[in-house]
Symmetry: none
Subunit: 97 residues, 2 copies
Amino acid sequence: MGRLEIRPEEHAALVDGRPLSLTVRELQLLVSLSQHPQRIMTREELFAAVWGGRPRDDDRSVDVYVSRLRAKLGEALPGRRLIHTHNGIGYRFSPDG
Amino acid sequence: MGRLEIRPEEHAALVDGRPLSLTVRELQLLVSLSQHPQRIMTREELFAAVWGGRPRDDDRSVDVYVSRLRAKLGEALPGRRLIHTHNGIGYRFSPDG
DNA sequence: TGGGCTGTGAAAATCCTGTGAACAGCAGGC
DNA sequence: GCCTGCTGTTCACAGGATTTTCACAGCCCA
């Protein structure tokens, strides 16, 4: 899928062959998102996939980690936006910018 | 139903495969309308379906959102009018222009 | 032509998201 | 043990987006 490769079994994500230094949570989130490209995933779905269970009503973990992921992806792939926000619903991963 | 696809479970509405960028309320209204094609729905019905409960006597929310929906549908499908006004009653969704 | 109904831009209110920062827990090295 | 650096969690605030409400213009039909 273009310049970004995600290898869950190897706990790694590569951009042009160079590994991103992601933390465990960041990688889990990226894996979850990328497993459903172009599909809007709710915070509940993402939370269940990464943390397990249901989030507290006011939990912002997903948002915080999306923010950190974007920062690291943005450094490695300037100008591209892979994670799109859908207000009131959740996030969508789009392999092509 | 032609070029417009509505997928409530995915929080999405597509025209020729391309997603419309609708807000939550806009999508809810479109879903409600499209679930009863060719049937005139009163403002009360639409309000109940989207907002829940009954509208205030002078509430114009349904009209405002119909207007916004028409604008976005009109951009994606120029020349077609999917939502028809029935004066004094409400609105009707017609899949074929 | 008049009065109620509808269309719609725009302001106001509300809700949601982005993100820096503080804090706690943990692992390794000394 | 104590310090250091890293990760994860939570909070707080600013900014952004959506929703709600208002106002006025235009439409429709008697």
